[in-house]
Amino acid sequence: MTARHEVLCSIGLPTGDAVDVVRRRFQGGSGPRVAVVAGIRGDTPEGVRVAHQVASFLAGVHDQLAGTVDVYPCVNPLAAHRGARHWPFFDQDLNRRFPGRPNGHAPDHVAWALVQDLAGIDQLIEVRGAHPAFSEVPQAQVRATDSRAAELARHGNVQVVWTRHPGPAAPSTLAWQFPETIVLEGGTGNRLSTGVGRNLAHGVLNMLAELEVLTNELLPFHWAGMTRPPAVGDTEVHRVRSGAGGLFLPEVGVWDELEPSTLLGTVVDPITGACVERIVSPSTGRVMAVREQPVIFPGTMVARVVEAALG
């Protein structure tokens, strides 16, 4: 029964300094091994906050755990240091470098080291924030084929579980390397959002209880307070794109209820302020994500709408 702070790998810098990628291990019994990974991109402080909140709780109960929880609070510390998305200097998106290379440059080496360290994991939970241009409702994303993960994710205290078919970039992501990975996301890009971090941290702990790594009695909240989210597929998630370029001025917030004609926002000419497009919801549903960085081109996604009979 241990709580250890370990260096996954140390990245030497040209000046002779070094930066460490850290793993915090909370080990109790011989039950499942679960990993919580955050900070793959440096502009996702919400995920880092969640990882620290989970670790802080586990530090107090590690001797009562039935399994092992490895928390990687920030895999891309140099990017987080400057609040940038990519690994600095190389300008590489770490979540496009997996499974990495042992003899590659720093981002490739870290990706490789992380994948090696996660070998044999029973459940991987990756915690992100939103893309910097968007606000996202707290959500879980799993691969469409991962039915066990989809069921577990419904205990993640999110508003919706999105079972996705992989896009072309999926094979180079961390989540792709480990079947049944659950990705938690929510809040506003490169910011901390009130309540979101706590809700996602509670969701991680609730899933640990569901995996029987924790007992319900240890949870710092009552399980009945957790959400009961629906699971939706790609056909129920609509990416709404602008037809015109300009400034997108949203009229809705995340998780607002929508009718087919509900105004999502307007696009205005950035010089005259004249409205050039009104963008309405394509269906009944709710706002999963809405663009908050207003400068857009024709074809820029301004909202994601989930079509479902939602409570």
Binding site: G12, P14, G16, F89, H109, P168
Partner: protein
Amino acid sequence: MAEVFRLDAPYRGSYRLERLSFGSGPARVAVVAGLHGNELNGVHALNLVARTLRVARLNGTVHLLPMVNTFGLEHGTKRWPFGDRDINQAFPGDPDGSPVARIAHALLAATDAEVCLDIHSGSAVLRELSQVRVPLSGREVELGRSMDLPVVWRRHGDLLEATGLVGAWRQSGRSALHIVGGRGATLDLGSARTMANGIFRLLHHLGVLSVQPDAGKTVVDTTKARVSYHYSSVGGFWVPEVRVGDRVAPGHLLGSVTEVVGGDDLETVRAERSGVVVTLRSYPVVHARELLVRVADALP
């Protein structure tokens, strides 16, 4: 010059994809440069090619698209600067998709030719001897060799991903060559002229251009098995002792990684084989495990 695609842009004039077309009849060759906004050698190479094609008699049509990522060029960025997206990962594109997906779709449609070339510079930290990268076998090897560029590099299918332009061309049945020369974020006049002359030789080989171009000379025709990769084992300040194109023998000093402050040697890098320096790091700040030099076997 014809506009083949336009995308409205806030605060400024529209994004426009421009194409220069020469000759008449079937589209034989399409050449693209500037997919990455900070890779400028291909832009100059195509403008040199255009000067000649304006006054040449051609058998068939040649399309030149010297600068795809014009907004990246203006911002000094490799990627499309709005949302930081790599256009070269957006193929085959989508006419109703994101801005880069629309550009990719339009570019694929505007380059519907028998033979297609995508011209790049090296990265912003590496200088490359002008080279054509082709698959291990097939018609593209013959076409690549016809350019008589300094390096013909036959490679496995690492450029065949359908999300990249070369892969998308090949998937649609077009012969596609990937050309790289010089360094990013700079204008390397020698590389630009070399690549332009290689394009003339390809056009002549295909019978599109009847005038005999200047001769070129291939010094390396290789696969990865005959290339030595030299990486830094420590971070520091890289001081090269060779230039791209230099011939070296085993033990030849290629450069040193030194302390940033003080300059003491941390590592010296020496050639492992006889050959030609085809890639050289030209930006001095280096991290551990970064590529410094590639040396390839020379042709006899």
